[in-house]
């Protein structure tokens, strides 16, 4: 590690690390503490006397109860889960197939197709949401989950394809050739030999795609309008604020509970997630 006196270790390692952790994690602590705090404590001006904002001795479930009893939070959770799972599944199928074709098959225009898919990966949602909103309305998909299930793959497929290409390239060609000599068709060799070897890649792509579609905001904001169709990020944004009044307790409880599913998915597959993240960047 760091050579030299013990103070060097503190100055160059422990203190900066602690500051980073404080900066990066404090908002989450603030979410947790706000969501269990009674309203009476919440709305005390920051300069009132004897006020300790960092702790509460009277934790309450009121905000969570409000969320589930007075709002459609449960439906938002269900909508988001369904949309995220469906769009992830579609993107995985497309991405695995496209990744296989682009990395292991010879065909005309393979290179330019690969570049084309890479470019779509870099297209931000905010560039296209206005014409897409018009199209969604014309196809009568507005205010249905299908508006999102069909559009989310546009930013998930390129990433899945790109990641899978990396994994497929690493599978030795001999493996596939052996299967072909034993009488397997190309299709069977792909399905039963190459794809199983690349399962870690599929997991990485899947977990990354799931979190991306869970977090998506602008399409969901523009394409959905009725409260019962909304996803968690949009529902929390639009239904927990009345005019200028912010219901901070339920808002923070909603933010916390809306984050937990991704946090759980992430915690089970940290390594795969990191592999997906770094793989998606390195290309």
């Amino acid at each position: 590690m760091i050579e030299g006196a013990i103070w060097r270790k503190w100055v160059f390692f422990y203190v900066p690390m602690a500051l980073f952790l404080l900066f990066l994690l404090f908002p989450f602590y603030w979410m947790v503490i706000t969501s269990v705090r009674p309203d009476g404590e919440l709305y005390r001006p920051w300069n009132s006397i004897n006020y300790n904002p960092f702790w509460t001795w009277k934790p309450t479930w009121d905000h969570v109860r409000y969320l589930f009893e007075e709002t459609l939070f449960a439906s938002w959770l269900w909508n988001t889960t369904f949309i995220a799972l469906a769009s992830t599944a579609i993107s995985l199928v497309c991405g695995v197939f496209a990744g296989y074709a682009l990395s292991r098959l010879n065909f005309p225009f393979a290179g330019s197709l690969g570049t084309g898919i890479f470019i779509t990966y870099l297209v931000p949602q905010t560039l296209l949401f206005i014409p897409l909103a018009e199209m969604i309305r014309n196809y009568r998909l507005g205010d249905t989950p299908w508006a999102l299930i069909l559009t989310y793959p546009t930013f998930l497929i390129p990433f899945c394809t790109w990641l899978m290409m990396g994994y497929f390239k690493a599978v030795p060609r001999e493996l596939e050739e052996c299967a072909r000599i034993d009488g397997a068709s190309r299709w069977q060799a792909m399905l039963y030999i190459v794809i199983p070897v690349a399962i870690p890649g599929i997991l990485s792509a899947g977990i990354f795609a799931f979190t991306l579609s869970w977090n998506e905001f602008i399409y969901a904001l523009v394409f959905l309008s009725s409260p019962e169709q909304k996803t968690v990020p949009v529902g929390v944004t639009s239904e927990l604020i009345r005019g200028d009044v912010f219901y901070w307790g339920p808002l923070m409880a909603g933010a916390l509970l809306g984050s937990i599913p991704v946090a759980i998915a992430y915690s089970f597959f940290v390594e795969h997630y990191v592999a997906g993240l770094t793989g998606s960047v390195k290309g």
Binding site: M1, F13, F20, F23, L24, L25, F28, W30, M31, W46, N47, P53, I90, V93, F97, A98, A101, L105, N106, A110, F118, I119, T120, L122, P124, Q125, T126, L127, L128, I130, P131, A133, M135, L150, P153, T161, S185, R186, W187, N215, F217, V222, V232, P233, V236, W248, L251, M252, A255, G258, V262, A263, Y266, V270, V274, L277, T278, V281, K282, G283
Partner: protein
């Protein structure tokens, strides 16, 4: 018994159906495998892109097709003060946050690249700002910046740094700074983890050899780590520039473009014009105005990746 054996052999020896024979041809198989992707990307990226261009040269509103008006929308937005502010804001926002995210991310990556207790745990926690839905975590920040109940004001006050309250989101400059802080907070983990992956591919022997030859830590960083890390850094920075340039969520939640339209970015202003006031074509023109810059970044990225691959 006998019958089934016969049918099994005939099955095996019968010529494969046409469909299967086609799939044996590499080109056909590739075509079949790529069709779903091409259809989806064509329908929901290429087509809307063309629609967007067509929309931006009409005067259509929500529910009204509109007529061709040439470049009137672009002419209009370039003379619009709020649009100019948004352009300026977007460049400041992208530039400032990228510098900070790179510096802090690299620093954090170097810290994480050491061996210490609870390393895996720390790394897992550090990514949280990046994986948690941005809109939701931005609300936590908005609450921390609340004019009346701000915990940041409480801290600054109790450390004796301020005497009155700071109205973070009510002042144009402070609001911009607040937004920039939130973006840095969200982006640092992404930079740190990606750069950490790059750092881990650098053999520690190189650094050890340089240390034996008497190179100071700073020299070792500048002459060994930085050049070897540059390819990963480039890709991460370009990727982040695109995302930040087109950012929407943080500004939408923190200020909604306010106070008095002082913190709009391209995307939030396009949203306000197209969805808020229903001027679809003008909104499409604003969103498309991002395109030249994004295009340039993508080209740089493609050229750079190609150069690295050739090497």
């Amino acid at each position: 018994m006998a019958i089934s054996a016969v049918s099994a052999t005939t099955l095996r020896e019968a010529p494969p159906p046409r469909r299967q024979r086609l799939l044996e041809d590499e080109r056909w198989l590739a075509f079949v495998l790529l069709v779903p992707t091409i259809v989806l990307l064509g329908m929901f990226i290429a087509y809307p892109f063309i629609r967007g261009i067509l929309l931006s040269v009409t005067n259509s509103r929500v529910g009204m097709p509109g007529d061709f008006v040439g470049l009137a929308n672009f002419y209009k937005i370039f003379n619009d003060g709020i649009f100019r502010t948004s352009v300026y804001n977007t460049f400041v926002y992208t530039g400032v946050t990228t510098v900070f995210k790179l510096a802090l991310g690299l620093w954090l990556a170097m810290l994480l690249n050491r061996n210490f207790h609870g390393k895996a745990f720390t790394r897992a926690f550090i990514l949280l700002p990046f994986i948690i839905p941005t809109v939701l975590s931005t609300f936590a920040w908005k609450w921390m910046f609340d004019p009346t109940f701000s915990v940041l004001n409480w801290l600054l006050y109790h450390f004796g740094l301020i005497t009155g309250r700071i109205n973070w989101l009510g002042d144009p400059d402070l609001a911009m700074i607040s937004i920039i802080i939130v973006n840095i907070w969200r982006g640092v983990p992404f930079f740190a983890i990606s750069l950490l992956a790059g750092l881990q591919t650098i053999s520690p022997e190189l650094n050890e050899a340089a240390a034996i030859d008497g190179a100071k830590p700073w020299q070792r960083f500048w002459h060994i780590t930085w050049p070897l890390l540059l390819p990963v850094t480039m890709v991460v920075v370009l990727f982040s520039v695109i995302q930040t340039f087109a950012d929407f969520q943080i500004v939408y939640v923190m200020t909604g473009g306010g106070p008095a339209n002082a913190t709009h970015l391209f995307a939030t202003y396009a949203y306000q014009i197209a969805i808020g006031t229903g001027l679809l074509s003008e909104g499409a023109a604003i969103a498309l105005a991002m395109f030249p810059v994004l295009f340039l970044v993508v080209i740089i990225q493609l050229l750079y990746i190609r150069r690295v691959e050739v090497r």
